[in-house]
């Protein structure tokens, strides 16, 4: 009890959340790591540890799923950066009073389950759906649907993760002080130079968070490939799900999860470790 009194108000306030995350986040991850060393197809945590699951993964074709997930996530991030930067810039510097309303419009879809929204794309793109049906009735032309192709998966991912890029970018761009831009212009910098040497470096925290968040979420994407891709690609998260559900091989699923967590964890920790959150969130 003495210990608790010594914590001070900050430590005391942090305690409930810390205990909760210990039980709900750290412990499950430790359980996953532990499970990945259990012999294949066991459901108990008490067996003799082995590396059999990792050996099985390196001999299998799981790496294809890994590469697809990483590749699609990277493409998603690049496309989203190009799509969102002008919008974020506009929200901070161009739209003025309308920015609030636009922000609200960008927020609403976040709260609707992603599978419902992806299903909207299915209705839009399917044969005799909104797009192709309209073309057919107007021009009598019939086109092949892009649904159930790899491009459709990419479209779905860009669509679902758009707000996760847009909001951090907006926060980042709002960190650029007007004085820095004005000074650069006064000194004769061109628009492009200001963009490259003032705006990009000063909005870097937002850019980093946006890239990281969209990449991490996109690497774990699963619904996009199922709903819009017609199983054209099996992403790594689906491999993990299959191991846990259909094939009832939890240790294998756990080992795949550990590998994915390693990729994600290294990226996140490397980028976030020295990040000053107070500056990013607390500035007025």
């Amino acid at each position: 009890m003495r210990r608790f009194a010594d914590l001070g108000p900050g430590g005391k306030s942090a305690l409930p959340v810390l205990l909760f995350l210990l039980a709900g986040f750290v412990a499950p991850l430790i359980a996953v790591v532990w499970f990945s060393f259990m012999p294949p197809r066991t459901f108990s945590l008490a067996a003799e540890p082995s590396l059999a699951n990792y050996a099985a993964i390196f001999e299998s074709t799981n790496y294809i799923s890994f590469l697809w997930s990483l590749g699609l996530a990277a493409l998603t991030v690049i496309l989203l950066a190009l799509i969102c930067y002008p919008v974020a810039y506009g929200l901070v510097r161009v739209f003025g009073r309308w920015a609030m309303l636009l922000m609200l419009l960008f927020t609403i879809p976040l709260f609707v389950s992603e599978n419902i929204r992806l299903y909207g794309w299915v209705l839009l793109l399917i044969k005799n759906g909104v797009v192709l049906g309209t073309l057919k009735s107007l021009f009598g032309a019939e086109y092949a649907s892009i649904l159930f192709t790899r491009s459709a998966i990419l479209l779905g991912m860009v669509y679902v993760y758009l707000p996760f890029m847009l909001f951090p970018l907006t926060l980042g761009i709002s960190m650029i002080p007007d004085e820095a831009r004005d000074a650069a212009f006064d000194l004769g910098a061109s628009r492009w130079q200001v963009f490259r040497e003032i705006e990009i470096p000063l909005s870097m925290p937002g850019v980093v968070i946006g890239f990281l968040l969209t990449f991490v979420l996109a690497v774990g994407a699963i619904t996009e490939a199922k709903v819009m891709g017609g199983q054209r690609i099996i992403p790594i998260a689906q491999d993990i799900e299959i191991a846990f559900t259909y094939s009832q091989n939890w240790p294998l699923g756990a080992a795949l999860s550990v590998l994915l967590m390693l990729v994600v964890g290294i990226l996140v920790l490397a980028a976030l470790w020295r990040f000053d959150l107070d500056r990013f969130l607390g500035r007025k």
Partner: protein
């Protein structure tokens, strides 16, 4: 300076932004249209409109059961998440303490984590503990992701909180409880309210965490997913539309309230 070029640039940015908004809402429009079709199968242009599927959906006992499960989970998540995150946000933004920087990063980790993998990890964890899966384990699973989000949302408000207010109240002889209920909570109310809104809506719309942790209970997003994978039924667009419009109303109404109360407070202080 080069005003003509910057006018053009601003016009381009505006057009582009509106295009992105349209892109974001296209699927919603398609779903809403589909929900008003009279026929069993979706075909565009829609031959005949009707409300039949809306009536059928709302008269179904199964659907009512789903809605009540989803609302129950979301309400429990909201109450627990806001209580935990209020203290979490004070530790995040208000107090200076030794482990703070580490704590701030730890809070972010569940957000920067693929949710499907988190769901499966929790499934494994519940199993290792011998817990029976139900809507209650789903509440716990949602919280792992939603508590950090709500902590960040409330923290943004806490950053602009002036600690001198609390000190002044203490100097005037207020007890700790009085300071909390009459100073801290009212000042932070907009942040707590936004946090509650986020918690409810994120839980309501969550699919990847629910999928592995609800056991035999089913939430609305899970049901919709099962239906859309199994084949088309017009009940899917109806529930999808309800879900979207519900979220929009809560959000717009909620922010309207915050703005109105801020305006009222400003006119009082003037």
């Amino acid at each position: 300076m080069e005003t003509k070029a910057s006018h053009l640039r601003h016009a381009l940015i505006t057009v582009w932004t509106l295009a992105v908004v349209l892109f974001l809402y296209l699927p919603t429009i398609a779903i809403t249209l589909a929900s008003f079709t009279a026929s069993r199968y979706f075909q565009f242009p829609i031959a005949e409109f009707g409300l039949e599927w809306w009536r059928k959906t709302f008269n179904s006992i199964e659907i009512r059961q789903l809605l009540s499960t989803s609302v129950t989970i979301a309400l429990c998540v909201t109450v627990i998440a806001v209580s935990l995150a209020f203290f979490g946000a004070m530790a995040f933004a208000r107090y200076d303490w030794r482990g703070r920087s580490f704590y701030q990063k730890l809070i972010l980790l569940p957000i920067f984590f693929p949710q499907s993998v988190l769901g499966l990890a929790l499934l494994l964890w519940f199993n290792a503990l011998g817990l029976q899966l139900s809507w209650m384990t789903a509440v716990f699973a949602h919280l792992v992701w939603i508590v950090p989000v709500v902590t960040l949302v409330i923290s943004i408000q806490v950053y602009s909180f002036d600690p001198a207010l609390e000190e002044a109240a203490f100097d005037l002889g207020a007890t700790r409880w009085q300071v909390l209920t009459q100073v801290t909570l009212p000042v932070l109310f907009p942040g707590l309210f936004s946090g509650a809104l986020f918690a409810f809506l994120l839980s309501w719309g969550n699919f990847p965490l629910s999928l592995y942790t609800t056991g035999s209970d089913t939430t609305v997003p899970e049901y919709l997913y099962a239906k859309m994978v199994a084949g088309y039924t017009p009940g899917v667009p109806v529930l999808g539309t309800v879900s979207t419009i519900g979220a929009a109303i809560l959000l717009v109404g909620g922010y309207g309230l915050i703005l109105a109360s801020r305006r009222a407070r400003q006119s009082v202080s003037e």
